[in-house]
């Protein structure tokens, strides 16, 4: 018995990225735009989806709900009469804290891709792991609620960088909190210069229009790219 050194030099996440690429091919072929929607638990992802999914003219929406356990969020969205698929991650290793490309791949057969144009994937609430795992999406959106504090971009730069849009939610609470919105926006820009941001309140509806327009625009743009 002797020992040999084997040179590998491979990104440990390559396997995930390969599967994500295969998902992307399937989504593109079906003409479906996929958004990976990420945040800490309780930032308002489900409410943000509820507020817009039935108000996107000409865009047929489907939702893939990732949760460690239960189907509360999926039930809320299914009540709006859109196709919702639940993906529970507790079958994995002690309950995975994120969706990865393989989990999304396993859900593709139940997604009815030919009946939708836009698939919104609500990731597991977590500011760390979802940033590491691509799922085959066209764009990534992260939501931060002002109740989380101004310092979160500096504490979770990986997440604030792993997205094309940052939504700042719960601004209806501004009068009740010692919260500095300018400071949060400054910190977001520090870790992800020039990233697009939308400041809104899912509860009152203030600022929802830019979010709706962003979804419409992204759905239209990525469809054109897929055709080209």
């Amino acid at each position: 018995m002797h020992r040999t050194k084997v040179r590998i030099v491979e990104d440990a996440l390559d396997a995930n990225n390969t599967i994500a690429g295969a998902n992307r091919v399937d989504f593109d072929r079906a003409g479906v735009t996929v958004i990976n929607f990420m945040s800490a638990p309780g930032a308002g992802k489900t409410t943000l989806l509820e507020r817009v999914v039935t108000d996107l003219p000409g865009v047929r929406v489907g939702v893939l709900e990732g949760d460690v356990e239960g189907s509360m969020d999926a039930d809320r969205l299914a009540a709006l009469h859109i196709p919702v698929t639940q993906l529970n991650t507790n079958a994995g290793f002690g309950g995975e804290c994120h969706l990865d490309a393989n989990m999304v791949r396993s859900a593709i057969p139940s997604l009815a891709l030919d009946e939708i144009d836009l698939l919104l994937v609500e990731n597991v609430g977590n500011l760390v792991c979802p940033a590491e795992f691509r799922i085959g999406e066209d764009a990534r959106v992260m939501v931060t609620a002002i109740t989380e504090g101004e310092d979160k971009p500096l504490k979770y730069p990986l997440m604030f960088r792993a997205c094309e849009l940052v939504i700042v939610n719960k601004i209806d609470l501004l009068p009740h909190l010692d919260f500095d919105l300018e400071k949060l926006l400054y910190n977001i820009d520090a870790v992800h210069p020039d990233v697009e941001t939308i400041v809104l309140s899912a509860r009152t509806g203030q600022g929802l229009e830019p979010w709706r327009e962003w979804l419409m625009g992204t759905a239209a743009r990525t469809n054109q790219e897929a055709i080209a």
């Binding site: 020992r3 977590n126 792991c129 210069p193």
Partner: protein, 118 residues
């Protein structure tokens, strides 16, 4: 907390290359921007490796410092705090020159003496 998921990714990568040989050392290059806690990664790796060819393997981690490069003015600088705007020209088109690595660099495997097999 992502160290558990990352450990699984490492073990899967190593298993693929080990081809059933027992692995004694796994050498990793980890960029500072990946926010990996070395001790935590080691703890989870030992746990996730159980029952695989990596069981009992030593995990060596080489930390790669973060270096950014401004695409606008070509200024290059090392960062220790997450500030990604160019300090020289204020530009936002900044590339990560180093610090984003999460690579299995090499592994050490046990080979049976294979006289006359090559």
């Amino acid at each position: 907390m992502h160290e558990l998921s990352l450990s699984s990714a490492i073990v899967n990568t190593v298993v693929k290359h080990a081809r059933d040989r027992r692995v004694t050392v796994v050498s990793l290059r980890v960029g500072a921007l990946r926010q990996v806690v070395p001790d935590t990664l080691e703890f989870y790796f030992e746990f996730v490796a159980r029952g695989s060819v990596c069981e009992g393997a030593v995990l060596e981690q080489e930390l790669v410092a973060a270096v950014l490069r401004c695409q606008g003015c070509e200024h290059e600088w090392a960062i220790e705090i997450p500030a990604f705007r160019c300090p020289e020209c204020g530009g936002s088109d900044v590339a990560i020159a180093a610090g984003n690595e999460f690579e299995v660099e090499s592994i050490e495997v046990e080979e049976a003496e294979c006289i006359g097999q090559r």
